[in-house]
């Protein structure tokens, strides 16, 4: 068993571009769920909007920067579509609408043929050439030993984590402002906020739209990293992976979503690599788990880990325990 390779690989994934994209999405969902108390079960719809905004725009001959704008504007429109009819109602209605809308959007994107705008199930590829053409890093491998990224991976990673740092700063600043205080008041009791003269509906809509735009940025990053979009990478389970990250990090905490994303991807990659190695060297007999089962088993382990977390550390990695205990009343 090459434990160094397993660990190096796990860290590579934990700090890689995909983890950065998930962190971005989680910062947005934390604004919804952690700060405002909104149950957005369709975060994947925002990610799809961002990814397809870029892919379709470039595929239709537009420049990459226009694709970014299309993705962001699309997310704003989607946030308004979700929010305007539901945010005056109880929280459950947003949950119902968003979980359905995510699937509606995915079905819509995959419904056309190869010649349609979204190219249906075939998806769109190679739309981010301009992004990689702007890569300032020379060809080569960057890192230490086995913990290394290609120049291409490094470029996405630098942009991705810079974006994570930027949006985290903005969201933390907002959360510390009186604006964020109103959001927390709404999370605690929206009738109380209303009775004190706060326009609850507008704040919830602002939160939904801003968090949704962050979801769209995450979708763009995923799409660019893969140079490919396909409707079936945006299954509802993606939303719940982001929820897992938010809960892992601690809902309502400042750095929780970022730390959560890193830990989540470390665990996913570590269990995968470790199980494969263990099977290869015969520690785990093939009759118990063979290498084709590993993909499923790692999620079982992630589930078990989340259960353990909820039992022993319900506030998440960076949350405040006292706040969770107050819920016991």
């Amino acid at each position: 068993m090459d434990i160094v390779a397993v660990l190096a690989d796990s860290f590579r994934t934990a700090f890689g571009p995909i983890a950065a994209a998930y962190a971005l999405a989680a910062v947005g969902l934390n604004l919804h769920f952690g700060y405002t108390g909104l149950l957005n079960f369709g975060h994947v719809a925002f990610m799809m909007t961002g990814a397809y905004g870029v892919a379709v725009t470039v595929d239709q001959g537009g420049p990459l920067w226009l694709g970014f704008i299309v993705g962001v504007v699309g997310a704003v429109v989607l946030g308004l579509l979700f929010g305007l009819p539901t945010l005056r109602l109880r929280v459950e209605y947003l949950a119902i609408v968003t979980i359905a809308a995510g699937e509606v959007l995915r079905t819509l994107l995959r419904s056309g043929g190869e010649s349609s705008l979204t190219r249906g199930v075939f998806g769109i590829q190679r739309f981010a050439d301009d992004f990689f053409a702007a890569n300032p890093f020379d060809r080569g491998s960057y890192g230490w030993g086995r913990f290394a990224y290609s120049e291409r991976g490094l470029w996405v990673l630098v942009i991705g984590w810079s974006l994570v740092a930027l949006v985290t700063l903005v969201v933390v600043q907002l959360a510390r402002s009186p604006w964020g205080r109103v959001l927390r008041a709404i999370r605690e009791d929206e009738d109380a906020a209303r009775s004190l003269g706060k326009n609850v509906f507008v704040y919830k809509l602002q939160s939904l739209v801003i968090g949704g735009v962050l979801g769209a940025l995450a979708g763009m990053l995923l799409a660019i990293d893969r140079q490919s979009v396909n409707p079936d990478t945006f299954l509802p389970v993606l939303t719940f992976a982001v929820f897992a990250i938010v809960i892992l990090g601690g809902p309502g905490s400042r750095l929780g979503p970022v730390v959560g994303a890193i830990v989540y991807w470390f665990v996913i990659q570590f269990t995968d690599r470790f199980l494969r190695e263990a099977i290869a060297v015969g520690w785990i007999p093939e009759s118990v788990i063979d290498s084709t089962d590993v993909g499923a088993v790692r999620f079982v382990l992630v589930g078990a880990m989340l259960m353990g977390l909820i039992i022993w550390r319900p506030q998440g990695l960076l949350g405040r325990r006292e706040e969770v205990l107050l819920d016991a009343d």
């Binding site: 903005v170 600043q173 907002l174 402002s177 009186p178 604006w179 964020g180 205080r181 109103v182 927390r184 008041a185 999370r187 605690e188 009791d189 009738d191 109380a192 906020a193 209303r194 009775s195 004190l196 003269g197 706060k198 326009n199 609850v200 602002q206 006292e322 706040e323 107050l326 819920d327 009343d329």
Partner: protein
Amino acid sequence: MPTEQSGHSSPPPPSPPPPPPSAIPILRIERLRKQFGGIVAVDVERLDVARGTITALVGPNGAGKTTLFNLVCGFDRPQSGSWFFDGRDVSGRPAHRIARSGMIRTFQLTKALSKMSVLDNMLVAGAAQRGEHLLSGLVPPTWRSQERALVDRAAVMLERFELDRMASEYAGTLSGGQRKLLELARALMAEPSMLLLDEPTAGVNPVLVQSILTHVLALRDDGMTILFVEHNMDVVMSISGRVVCMAEGRVIADGSPDAVAADEAVIDAYLGRRREA
């Protein structure tokens, strides 16, 4: 002072001397009606509340007292009726706008914002905060001085309500009585001209009840108008200048505490009789 706002539908009394501004009711309710299905929850023909007074709203459970609060504060919509606050028609306005116009309510079941500190509970109530706008929230210099003034005012208020030692604690750790005090103090942070208190002493120990009553009386002396729902008749009799009794959605008695307590209809509907000889 909006003295020339007498155009509201009420016909003037026979020989009206021009009323001094303080005689114009701060709250006027006209033909307010709310039905839930076939049940009439509120059917109030006319109710005025005079400025700077303490008015108690009493009546049996289900009389429509809380529904009346909900309607007047915009938390629920009536089938018909109109109401005027400070001379302005606020009928059908959303709750946050009615609150901003200076009428702040509290709740029967206190709504302490549990996972926020006591101080944050107070600060969030501050009216017209620049930092509550999304874009200025991002630029602290635009709201920092206002925030400092707000913190100072909250500190004074917390001291007045003997909650100053709890300022940095989570509101969820307060006792029931302290939550009632916090809710009252928080309502005051919004600088209202009228308070609607829904059972301010329910579930509060006798010492804190006295403290709350002292605060309410002091507020009235400062010019605040208070309308409160209460079941504790001792409280009602000791602080209110006027008592309104509701039953089945209607006002069945309205007058001085002693007169209402002696009213036959009130005794039948609410207070009950002593053992009769």
